[in-house]
């Protein structure tokens, strides 16, 4: 497998949009060709080598190409956007839209990710080892369909609008979240191990959400359907006892969305 190493070579002032950093673009290209790929900074385009030192060359295909980003790229947006295969490893934090609309392959972010990671993704694996911002795996503004497939794993915390409009795939969050998780969800699975603040599963009409921790402000349109223990969703297991709710009855007469909330952590529900 061919490996391309990108090392940031200067402090970035205005944010850079680098949707060319994907195995699909790098495949079949030598070092100098990769250096000449154009990225956007404001309304101007510059070669990738203005911002990164490039080592190695792309493989024969996207599957065959691994990109390693050696450092912090929190002011670089759209890394791995629309990628279909191969692997990206970011040894630092990334800017907005990492893995946005990705369809396959794997991205590992060892630091944090800014908002919109995995927006409307349809396949592949996006693993963020730190925290993430808002709109994880969600739909673009005004769009009705968010993440459709693949898996999004966040080891730390994430903020609001996780899985907005989600229709398929899985989001697994190790830490806590804030507001409107799974808003307008119609399919797929969201598992949150920590706490949530507000409006879990608001406006959902399908799909499943599991919240292991405490929910501060529960969604009023949810109706209690008893309890279940030790949930299993193929390879994803959630141990313990959960209160089961169906909803959101505010948005539909016969919704099929399911929210599981930890029984011990939510004595008031």
């Amino acid at each position: 497998m061919a490996e391309v190493k990108l090392t940031p070579n200067k402090e970035i002032d205005l944010k850079v949009e680098a949707d060319v950093i994907t195995p699909d673009e790098f495949a079949g290209k030598g070092k100098s060709e990769i250096e000449q790929l154009l990225v956007w900074q404001g309304p101007s385009q510059y070669p990738l080598s203005d911002f990164f030192d490039v080592e190695g060359e792309g493989g024969s295909s996207a599957e065959d190409t691994t990109i390693v980003i050696n450092g912090d790229v929190s002011r670089v947006k759209l890394i791995g956007a629309k990628m279909t295969a191969g692997k990206i490893i970011v040894k630092g934090s990334t800017g907005m839209h990492v893995g946005s609309q990705m369809a396959g392959g794997e991205i590992v972010v060892e630091g944090d990710a800014d908002s919109w990671p995995g927006m409307e993704m349809t396949g592949g694996v996006l693993h963020i080892k730190g925290n993430a911002g808002d709109h994880v795996g969600s739909a673009y503004r005004g769009s009705w369909h968010g993440m459709k497939g693949g898996r999004l794993i966040i080891d730390g915390n994430a903020r609001s609008q996780i899985g907005g409009g989600m229709t398929g795939g899985e989001i697994i969050i190790g830490g806590s979240i804030e507001n409107f998780c799974g808003i307008r969800q119609t399919g797929g699975l969201i598992v949150v191990k920590g706490n949530a603040i507000r409006a879990v599963g608001a406006e959902m009409s399908g799909g499943t959400i599991v919240i292991g921790g405490n929910i501060q402000k529960f969604t009023p349109g949810m109706q209690n359907e008893g309890e279940e223990s030790d949930l299993e969703f193929e390879d994803i297991k959630c141990s313990g006892t959960f209160k089961k709710f169906r909803g959101d009855f505010a948005i539909a007469k016969n919704p099929k969305g399911i929210v599981y909330a930890g029984k011990e952590t939510n004595p008031d529900l």
Binding site: W40, P43, S44, F249
Partner: protein
């Protein structure tokens, strides 16, 4: 001479019945509210910015119009990513020039909605807007709901002109044919004048709207909603009954709904509530936002019809892109993602969070304004503004998105510019000249 039917350029109400008499350096105003009168007094105010100025060594120095304009054009043409903030205290015609200049420069163009009813625009994108003009509400509405707003303070003539007291075709007795519900955490003057005051906990609007829709769908909301909102489910049911009994309801949302936690989701839910009432329950409702600033609706209208999005337009790639949180002015300033700014007819420094305001004052800034304030103080080039509706003609959009053409009752006090539109056009020409030279 008394001039009648002058349009007031203060809030989104766009009152068009103001009478003014301007003589001996004083102005007498009739029909305007307190806020309106305050602005009309600006025509004769001693504070008015009368000279173009450039900041040299931290102090403003009076310069010629040409020199100030050259310096302003230089700042914009040399910028790698300028922010053009087209404030709401000016006409659509001036804002339009700003939008075209933003497209030409590949910059970002934003307006007051971004720090005001932007979430309302975003909610509309999520759920659609079942609305009408205020005229329909005057003639038909027998129930008025003020949600998260206190119009007696923010739009003093709303109740008398559009909301509560006007006598319409099917509401011949005015106030006596109408009921009023106010949803507000505070006991405001509007709340006191209402038939039902829903005094909810701050930042629980979403839960209350969600619960109302759940009741409409024939279910009882989850019991925790009483603790979250502070409102008993029985009171929510009473509110739903009042809504179902109404022949035509008018919901007026303010920033209490659009800018408390939940933001566009609150508005989206309110729009869903209106759609549900209209579709399945034998009553009719409309919803409208109480736009606080004069022409804040205008920018949303013209930006949408010219470029497809209501605010926060990023032209970096030559076409408009839109993503509030990424391309909106507060976020760009906080993230230090622009390197120069043009602010027209808005006090941006006074209305953005401290981090954003601080950065705005650090980068080169051109300001077009009529009176001193935080933004003019932070500017590097200060161009005197012309007061729209007083000194030049143009178009505002009223709170219900009705365009209102206005005519002046006096002339521009400057010989170098006739209006803010004129200033913007002169500036754009200079910017083009510099860019083409380079």
């Amino acid at each position: 001479m008394v001039v009648k039917n002058v349009v007031c350029p203060v809030c989104g109400g766009s009152c068009e019945d103001i009478q003014v008499e301007l003589k001996d350096n004083s102005i007498t105003v009739k029909n305007a509210c307190k806020m309106g009168n305050g602005k009309f007094q600006e025509v004769v105010s001693e504070h008015r910015i009368k000279d173009p100025m450039i900041k040299k060594d931290g102090k403003f120095v009076k310069v010629s119009w040409e020199e100030a304009l050259d310096k302003a054009a230089e700042i914009l043409a040399n910028s790698r990513r300028p922010l053009l903030f087209m404030g709401s205290e000016t006409s659509c015609e001036a804002q339009e020039v700003g939008l075209h200049m933003g497209e030409y420069l590949g910059g970002v163009v934003d307006s007051n909605a971004t720090i005001c009813h932007g979430p309302t625009c975003m909610g509309i994108q999520e759920a659609g807007l079942p609305t009408s003009t205020c005229g329909v509400a005057i003639n038909r509405s027998d129930l008025n709901i003020y949600w998260g707003t206190n119009p007696l303070a923010s739009m003093p003539r709303h109740m008398s002109k559009y909301g509560l007291f006007p006598r319409g075709y099917w509401t011949k007795r005015g106030r006596f044919d109408r009921k009023v519900i106010t949803v507000d955490p505070r006991k405001t003057d509007t709340a006191v004048a209402s038939d039902l005051h829903i005094q909810l906990q701050p930042n629980s609007d979403y839960e209350l709207l969600n619960a109302l829709l759940t009741i409409l769908n024939g279910k009882t909301p989850h019991h925790s909603v009483e603790q979250v909102t502070g409102i008993a489910i029985s009171v929510m049911e009473e509110m739903v009954d009042m809504m179902l009994e109404a022949k035509f309801g008018s919901i007026n949302v303010g920033l209490g709904a659009g800018s408390s936690f939940g933001k566009h989701r609150n508005i989206e839910m309110a729009l869903n509530l209106v759609k549900e009432l209209n579709n399945n329950h034998g009553t009719k409702f409309r919803i409208g936002a109480l736009r606080g600033h004069c022409n804040v609706a205008g920018f949303n209208q013209i930006a949408t019809y010219l470029y497809g999005y209501p605010f926060a337009l990023d032209f970096a790639r030559g076409y408009a892109r839109y993503n509030p949180g990424e391309t909106s002015c507060v976020d760009l300033l906080r993230e230090k993602d622009v390197d120069a700014a043009l602010v027209l007819g808005a006090d941006l420094v006074g209305h953005t969070p401290a981090d954003s305001a601080k950065y705005l004052c650090q980068i080169p800034m051109v300001c077009i304004d009529i009176a001193p304030g935080p933004t003019p103080s932070g500017a590097d080039v200060l161009l005197p503004g012309v007061i729209d509706a007083f000194e030049c003609d143009g178009t505002f959009y009223r709170l219900d998105n009705v365009p209102v053409y206005f005519e002046p009752f006096t002339d521009s006090p400057f010989d170098f510019t006739k209006s803010n539109e004129d200033t913007m056009k002169q500036l754009f020409a200079k910017v083009k000249e510099l860019k083409e030279k380079a």
